[in-house]
Symmetry: C2
Subunit: 326 residues, 2 copies
C-alpha cells in the first residue's frame, strides 16, 4: 500500500518515532493498527517526494557537480516524475503491484497518476479531495505564494543557503495564503469568528482578530521548517498536473488507460478542489466502465477535511479496505 | 446624491477631465447623463475618503506637527469616520439631506452607515455587493495583504517616504491577493482558463499561465500608483466595520435607527461578500419595517460584478432612481 503525501507532509504518514511521543504522522487518524487503513492487514509505504525537504533529494541537498546545494538549480518536478520515482522504489523493493495507492489533495493526484503511468501496478486507487486540474483561481493563489517567495530580498534566485539567509518573509506569506484556501469560510468563522484578541479594536497594526494571530503563527511555524525552493516546485507540480492535456482536454480519453478500481471522495465545503471537480474524475472513469465508488461528504472543514476526523469518512475508507484482499 | 468609493477608487466617479479622454471615472457605466444614475436629474458628489491617496488628507500629506509626511503616524480611520467627514462636507455645502447615498462594497458600507449615523439626512440608500461585517476569511485575506506590506523591508514602519523608497513588493502582493477575491473562480476560468503563455510548460518560474501574467500586471500597476499606508488603513476600516457590535451582535437592533428606504443588490457569484450577507441586511431592515427592495442577480463576475455592465443590474438601478424625486 502506497500513501504519497500532499504539499507540506512527508514519509512520516502515521505513528511515532522512538523518544518522540508527540510527533505523530500526518495521517495518523487514518493509518495504523485498527485504523481505517489497518496496518495489521496492510504494509504501508510512505515516501518523500523528489524535490522535497524531508529526506528526498531536493534543493537543499548537494549538487554533485558543484559540491554546493542545488538551490535554484534544482529542476522543476512533476506529479508524473514523482510517480516514476515511486515506481523505481517499488522495483527496488520487489513490489510488482500495490494493493492500493491512496492520497488526498496532491497525494490524490499521485494516486490517479499511478493508474495512468502504471495501470497494471495498482489494484485500487483512493482519490480524496482531488481535482483533475487546477483552476485559474487555484493557479492564481499559487502564483501569489510564489511571487511572495521570489520577491523576498533574501531569495537570491534560490541560492540563499550559500548566503546564510532564508526567504522567511516570503515563505510565511505563502503559507498564510495557503492556509486560507485549506479552510472553508464557515469553518474559519466557527473557529475564530470576529473575536478580538484585546477585547476591543486596537486601531493599530498589531493583532486585532484571532484569525490574524492564527495565520501569523502558522506562517511563522512553516517558515521555520519548510524550504522555499521546495514550496516553489510543489506549487508548480500542482499547476502543471493535467492528465487530459495530451488528449485535447478529454479526461475520459486520458483515463482510458486506467485499470484500477476507484474510491473517490470529496467534501462539500472544499472550495479549493470542489466536489464538482471530483465528479469530473468519476464521470470520466464511468465513461471507461471502471469500478468506481464515489462519496461526497457534507463536511464543514473545507479542503483540509481530508485530514480530519469524521466518522462517516473513516467508516467509508474502512469499509472499502475491508473488501480488499491484502 | 453622494457616491462614496470602495478600496482603490476616488472622487473621480464618472466622466473625464479636460484633455484626458481615456481616464474614465470608476463608475462611468452607472453615473452620467442618461445613465442609470442620471446626472441630468441628480447632482452627484464624489469624495475622497479620509486617509486615502487621491487628494484627501492621508499618510502622504504633511503632518503639521512635524513638517514631514504623516506616514505610519496617520491614524487608523473607520467607516464611521468617513461618514462623519462626508457629513461635515455636506454641512459646508449646505446639503441638509441627500436624495440618496449609493455605494458598492466598501462604498456600500458607507451608504449603510449613513443611514445609522445620520438617519434623517438620507432618503434612500443603495447598498450593493455589501456585507454587515467581514467574515474571518475576509479578515484573513486582508491580514495577509497587510503582512505582505509591513514585512516588506522598504516599509520602515510606514515612514518610507522620508527614505526615498516604497514598499512596492508588499503592495504588489496585496493587490494580487485582493484581485483573486474580487473575481469568481468561474470568471477567472472563463477569462484565462489554463492557457499557457509559451504554449507549453516552461518548467521554470517565468510566466506559464495567462492568469499569472494578469496578476503580475495588476500588482505592478497598483504598486505604481497606490499608497501602502492607505491600503493598510482601508483594510482595517473594512475589518472593523460592524454596526451590530454595540448591540450584542443584533443587526436588527443596530438598524432600528435607519429611516431611509433601501435598495440592496447582491451577485450570486460574489464569494467575497456573498448574497447571504446581503440577505442579513435585508432581514434586519424588514424587522424594522423599512421599505426595502432586494435584488439578487445571477451574475458570473464575482464581487467585481458591482462595477460591471449588466443589463438587468443597470435597469434595476435606473428604475429605482426613476421613482425617486430629485
Amino acid at each position: 500500500m502506497l500513501v504519497p503525501h500532499a504539499l507540506n507532509a512527508s514519509h512520516h504518514v502515521a505513528g511515532t518515532y522512538a523518544g518522540q511521543p508527540d510527533n505523530l504522522g500526518w495521517w495518523d487518524n487514518m493509518v495504523g493498527p485498527g485504523k481505517p487503513l489497518d496496518t495489521r492487514r496492510f504494509f504501508v509505504i510512505g515516501v518523500n517526494n523528489l524535490g522535497g525537504c524531508h529526506g528526498s533529494s531536493g534543493p537543499i541537498t548537494t549538487n554533485p557537480a558543484t559540491g554546493k546545494p542545488w538551490g535554484g538549480d534544482f529542476p522543476v518536478v512533476t506529479v508524473e516524475d514523482w510517480v516514476a520515482a515511486q515506481a523505481r522504489l517499488a522495483d527496488r523493493l520487489g513490489i510488482e503491484r500495490f494493493a492500493a495507492v491512496m492520497g488526498g489533495s496532491l497525494g490524490a493526484m499521485q494516486a490517479l497518476q499511478w493508474t495512468l503511468s502504471f495501470p497494471e501496478r495498482v489494484r485500487h486507487a483512493l482519490v480524496i479531495a482531488a481535482t483533475p486540474t487546477l483552476t485559474a483561481q487555484n493557479i492564481a493563489f499559487n502564483e501569489v505564494a510564489r511571487q511572495a517567495i521570489v520577491t523576498d530580498p533574501d531569495f537570491h534566485d534560490g541560492h540563499y543557503y550559500e548566503r546564510g539567509v532564508l526567504p522567511r518573509r516570503g515563505l510565511r506569506l505563502a503559507r498564510m495564503i495557503g492556509h486560507i484556501t485549506y479552510l472553508s469560510d464557515d469553518a474559519m468563522m466557527e473557529k475564530f469568528g470576529r473575536v478580538l484578541r484585546r477585547g476591543r479594536p486596537g486601531y493599530d497594526f498589531d493583532i486585532d482578530f484571532e484569525v490574524e494571530s492564527y495565520l501569523r503563527y502558522q506562517g511563522d511555524k512553516f517558515a521555520g521548517y519548510f524550504d522555499a525552493n521546495t514550496y516553489l516546485r510543489i506549487t508548480k507540480a500542482l499547476d502543471y498536473f493535467d492528465p487530459a492535456a495530451d488528449f485535447g482536454g478529454d479526461l475520459s480519453a486520458a483515463l482510458a488507460r486506467a485499470r484500477a478500481n476507484f474510491l473517490v471522495i470529496s467534501f462539500t465545503s472544499d472550495w479549493r478542489f470542489a466536489p464538482s471537480r471530483s465528479r469530473e474524475i468519476v464521470r470520466a472513469l464511468l465513461d471507461n466502465r471502471r469500478v468506481v465508488s464515489y462519496l461526497e461528504l457534507d463536511a464543514p472543514h473545507g479542503h483540509d477535511a481530508f485530514l480530519m476526523e469524521d466518522a462517516r469518512y473513516m467508516a467509508a475508507v474502512r469499509a472499502y479496505f475491508e473488501n480488499i484482499a491484502p
